[in-house]
């Protein structure tokens, strides 16, 4: 794999990629096995092992939510966040964001979708991806934007798993529920 592609990949992960780099990686990732596995490796290292990447991804994440929920600013295109397909659009005022940011965010998601990381639901994956390739601002459920779990997300789920084990252990006869707690560990 070319150093250029590698560089673009890193830039995307850090949220620093420009539109050209995004297009190049997206064009390539479908047919380039090596690029795909590199992305996967970057992702795994980034969000599970390396502490500093928590900040990087949290920063990116922060930007998504700023954009979707709270940010204003002089932007190019509106986005209507939605919670769920069935819910329809919310009444939130249209949020605005720079095209560049939206693409950076969408690309990260789209890449994750392409390489098939464990995600929630992906009925709209194709749509999301096309939107990115067309260089448009993402429309669609918010959930589609944040399918990639960061270390923080994983840690939060782990904490709730332990709380569930505690609740079960405290509330039922016998020690069997505490076994999960005693043996808890993510390898």
């Amino acid at each position: 794999m070319s150093e250029k592609l590698k560089g673009s990949l890193s830039a995307i992960i850090d949220g620093e990629a420009d539109e050209f780099e995004l297009r190049r990686v997206l064009d390539e990732i479908d047919k380039n096995e090596e690029l795909r596995s590199t992305w996967e490796r970057y992702h795994l290292i980034g969000s599970r092992l390396r502490r500093e990447s928590i900040h990087t991804r949290a920063k990116l994440r922060q930007r998504v939510w700023d954009v979707l929920d709270f940010a204003g600013g002089d932007a190019v295109s509106p986005v209507s966040p939605r919670i769920d397909e069935e819910d329809g659009p919310t009444n939130r005022s249209h949020q605005r964001l720079g095209r560049w940011t939206s693409i950076a965010v969408a690309a990260t998601v789209a890449l994750a979708v392409v390489v098939g990381l464990n995600t929630f639901d992906s009925p709209a994956d194709d749509v999301t991806q096309i939107a990115v390739l067309e260089g448009q601002v993402i429309e669609g459920p918010v959930v589609q934007l944040t399918e990639v779990g960061t270390a923080l997300d994983i840690q939060r789920q782990d904490a709730w798993m332990i709380r569930h084990a505690q609740l079960m252990g405290m509330n039922q006869q016998g020690f069997t529920s505490f076994i999960k707690m005693a043996t808890y560990g993510r390898r």
Partner: protein, 329 residues
């Protein structure tokens, strides 16, 4: 001969309902439940979950009418869980990830729930005996617990023939695969158990975290007072406990709801959206699945709902997607 007969009567007597309902699996299950709390035992067991295998020791006794229990993780980082009546202490090394994780969410007294109600489960599970087996050199009766619908898991249980203590259990997925195996490899029962074995190992540098069950008198939050509702539940699941808790630091609240069908259970946690955002994601650890999803709360503000339970993923997802904010509580 006479003495032998007397001893036999004493043994049978101490195991309660041995002869009465020998053929009813429901009775065996409630006996199993009682055996957990009433018997004295000290054993080593293996626990296989997901891709991992662990060895633990459990010591259990009733001392002066109070439940005493000690669970020791025998591999890896030293961990012990000590139960004295309504209090549970975890003894861990300071750097243990369990402690870090537990600290990252609001804590407090645990809501009191009654998760296992073995009398009702035959509506949702078929219960059949299927022969005998031997576990930890003891004779066991095998009991199959099969879900009547494909939205939950089944179990295979090996119950000690004379005391009905659980000697081995398997958690079975919809394809018949085993997600978890618990099995005693060695066990002492009754008078063989020494109360000294209840004392925690003292290790330099270990720390204690305490958990306390809410007092019996404290009223659970009634279901109608909860601000959130679950629109779809698998048949037979009802709310076992509910709780609203505020973390003192940032005044954010966490709503906790627990549901059970008498055997399987899951917890739902609803929290304010973290400022750094969050992912909708699914994780699985053996039989336990965690599903995190976004839900619109008051004023359309995003909230994060996380379901954790021993359920098939599709069931868990469907439940999570049906969670709604109650607009006028």
């Amino acid at each position: 001969m006479k003495r032998f007969g007397l001893a036999l009567i004493l043994v049978l007597g101490s195991f309660g309902t041995f002869a009465a309902d020998d053929g009813d699996p429901r009775v065996w299950l409630s006996d199993m439940s009682r055996a957990f709390t009433d018997l004295s035992y000290d054993g080593i067991f293996s626990y296989f979950s997901g891709n991992d295998m662990a060895s633990l020791r459990i010591v259990h006794m009733v001392v002066d009418g109070e439940q005493r229990e000690r669970l020791v993780h025998l591999n890896g980082a030293p961990r012990e869980i000590i139960r004295t009546g309504e209090k549970v202490a975890c003894i861990l090394l300071p750097g243990d990830e369990l402690r870090t994780l537990a600290d990252s969410i609001p804590s407090g007294p645990f809501a009191r729930a009654f998760v296992r109600r073995y009398d009702q489960i035959s509506e949702y599970y078929g219960l059949t005996f299927y022969g005998e087996g031997r576990v930890a050199d003891r004779q066991a009766v095998r009991l199959r617990v099969s879900p009547r619908t494909d939205d939950r898991y089944g179990y295979r249980l090996w119950l000690d023939k004379s005391t009905r203590l659980l000697l081995r259990s398997e958690l079975i997925d919809l394809q018949g695969g085993r997600l978890e195996i618990f099995q005693f490899t060695q066990i002492l029962l009754g008078d063989q158990v020494d109360s000294a074995a209840l004392e925690p190992t003292t290790r330099a540098g270990t720390v204690k975290d305490h958990l306390t069950l809410a007092s019996k008198s404290s009223q659970p939050v009634p279901e109608r007072d909860m601000l959130w509702q679950v629109d779809w539940l698998p048949n037979g699941f009802t709310m076992a406990a509910a709780d609203i808790r505020r973390a003192s630091s940032d005044l954010k609240s966490v709503h906790t709801m627990m549901y059970s069908d008498g055997l399987a259970a899951f917890s739902v946690f609803i929290e304010d959206m973290p400022s750094a955002g969050a992912a909708s994601m699914v994780s699985r650890n053996g039989a336990t699945v965690a599903v995190t999803h976004l839900v619109a709360g008051p004023n359309q503000a995003h909230h994060l709902v996380t379901l954790v339970g021993e359920l098939p993923t599709p069931t868990a997802k469907r439940i999570v997607k049906s969670i709604r904010y109650r607009r006028s509580p």
